[in-house]
């Protein structure tokens, strides 16, 4: 058993030394892997940051219900009760036509506006804050509310929020797509690296086979090489994204300050970092195992 661990430690060590001492060409290979991993990682962070920010927005989407001009107090209280009972309504405020007019007059300095118009043209209104943020559910709610009796229209006054959420979900999809494609690239690149190594060490493999080495013994150094390569590439990729975030954050917060918002790219959380590194190492080892299974069989006796 001790020997088993010794062999693993030995393979791990010599594979690491080999990676650290490798020629410039293989170093470029490693950098290429790192950049490939950094791409989806940065996108992931950008989308996650955007999502964090969107979650913090106080301006959650609101739906404004405009009553018909002819609506009576009874109609208004009916709508009031409906909204009270509605499970998807978090809160609402009623703004009477009189209130609305007063606000408008003071805000815009249009004293005596109604006199000029010969009456108050504004309708009574409810401003509804829904519980949901989901664009689809918001749509349904809007349709439902606009169908209430004596309600003229229900306006979704935050269609930008809808666009924001659509953008975030697109960003998620793009992240996973990139992660899939570049993860496959990681598998293929490691497959190729290990294939080249196996071919370069044909003699050694053949001789060790001849004197009784099982496949696991022959495969071990290659698997460790792939493991280290995946780990190192993931760490470099992480470093790249950290650097990107640090470099971009001042400009982003400057820009956001123009809109009185606080936005910045966030860093990976420890669990996310662990998952990212473990995933990269796993993909690299899958590539190595595929190469080993395919090519070791062709070297040496049977």
């Amino acid at each position: 058993m001790r020997h088993f661990f010794y062999l693993h430690a030995q393979s791990a060590r010599s594979a690491l030394i080999k990676i650290l001492r490798q020629p410039f060409g293989s170093l470029l290979n490693l950098l290429m892997l790192s950049v490939a991993l950094a791409l989806p990682l940065s996108l992931f962070l950008a989308v996650a940051s955007l999502q964090d920010w969107a979650g913090r927005l106080t301006a959650t989407p609101q739906i404004t219900l405009y009553m018909e001009q002819s609506a009576e107090a009874a109609d208004i209280s009916a709508v009031n009760t409906t909204l009270h009972k509605h499970p998807e309504v978090q809160s609402f405020v009623f703004i009477s036509k009189g209130q609305a007019l007063k606000e408008m007059e003071t805000k815009n300095g249009l004293q005596g506006l109604s006199d000029g118009l010969g009456g108050n043209p504004l309708p009574d209104a409810f401003v509804v804050t829904p519980t949901t943020l989901d664009p689809h559910e918001l749509d349904m709610l809007q349709k439902e509310l606009s169908g209430l009796p004596m309600v003229e229209s229900a306006q979704f006054d935050a269609s930008w929020a809808k666009r924001l959420f659509a953008l975030i979900s697109l960003g998620h999809q793009l992240t996973w797509f990139l992660a899939g494609v570049l993860g496959a690239a990681l598998v293929l690149v490691t497959h190729n690296t290990i294939r080249m190594q196996i071919l370069a060490r044909r003699d050694e493999i053949e001789v060790t086979k001849l004197i009784g080495a099982p496949d696991s013994f022959i495969r071990r150094p290659f698997m460790y090489h792939a493991l280290w390569q995946g780990l190192v590439a993931a760490l470099i990729a992480w470093g790249l994204t950290c650097w990107l975030a640090l470099a971009a954050n001042p400009a982003i917060s400057e820009f956001a300050r123009l809109y009185n918002e606080q936005v910045s790219l966030r860093m990976l959380r420890p669990t996310e970092l662990a998952a990212f590194i473990a995933g990269s190492a796993l993909l690299a080892m899958i590539g190595a195992r595929m190469a080993a299974d395919h090519h070791l069989r062709r070297v040496g006796p049977r």
């Binding site: 020997h3 088993f4 010794y6 003699d203 004197i211 009784g212 080495a213 069989r297």
Partner: protein
């Protein structure tokens, strides 16, 4: 015990290297294999080590039929065999010591004992002073002795030597024969091939004579 049961070996696209051979070698026996170049000596030894597979017939080593075994099982049979290859099969990317260490690494030998074993094996073939040398700096005969040290270092129960004294002068050839004999004396099965029989006859052992893949008269 090694047993050949009507074994024929045909190389792809080639002639039959062995033709319908049946014989057996007892456990602990020391046997010589003689015959001119191309007679099939190396092929016969490779069949015992599971390096080549019989085209027809059965090859039994210690009761296991190699012709029916899969590649990943045969390696464990090979771990009990020490083989001196005709073409040495030395690894030129590591020094003499590490070459001899290889079989011990494979079978999972304790490291400290292993270093002692390696030195003992190198001592037996007269290479103790060269353990740090790279094999490329060794003469043909020294390379051959390196190969012998690697074949015996893990004390295999079967020792197969394919023309082990081909590149050695008579003094060294006799030393090597004594080494093989000492293995035989502690119970190992030993098979040694050579194309010239002069060395063998002094030992009074059974000689299997091959010619064109068959027993010679």
């Amino acid at each position: 015990m090694i047993q050949f049961d009507q074994v024929t070996k045909r190389y792809p696209g080639g002639n039959e290297a062995l033709k319908n051979l049946s014989f057996s070698i007892e456990t602990g026996e020391m046997v010589f294999l003689a015959g001119p170049s191309g007679a099939g000596k190396s092929t016969l030894l490779k069949l015992i080590a599971g390096i080549e597979r019989a085209t027809q017939g059965g090859v039994l080593v210690n009761g296991q039929n190699l012709t029916r075994m899969r590649g990943n099982q045969i390696c464990f049979v090979r771990q009990h065999i020490g083989m001196v290859f005709q073409d040495h099969k030395i690894l030129f990317d590591r020094n003499v010591f590490d070459n001899v260490m290889l079989p011990l690494d494979i079978i999972g030998f304790d490291r400290r004992d292993a270093a002692r074993r390696v030195r003992a094996a190198l001592d037996k073939v007269g290479l103790l002073g060269r353990e740090k040398s790279m094999p490329i700096r060794l003469s043909g005969g020294e390379q051959q002795r390196l190969c012998i040290a690697r074949a015996v270092v893990h004390r295999p129960s079967i020792l197969l030597a394919d023309e082990p004294s081909a590149n050695l002068d008579r003094a060294y050839a006799l030393d090597i024969m004594e080494l093989f004999k000492s293995f035989h004396q502690v119970g190992a099965t030993v098979v040694i091939s050579a194309h010239d029989e002069t060395l063998m006859e002094d030992y009074g052992r059974r000689i299997i004579r091959l010619r064109e893949g068959q027993f010679a008269a």
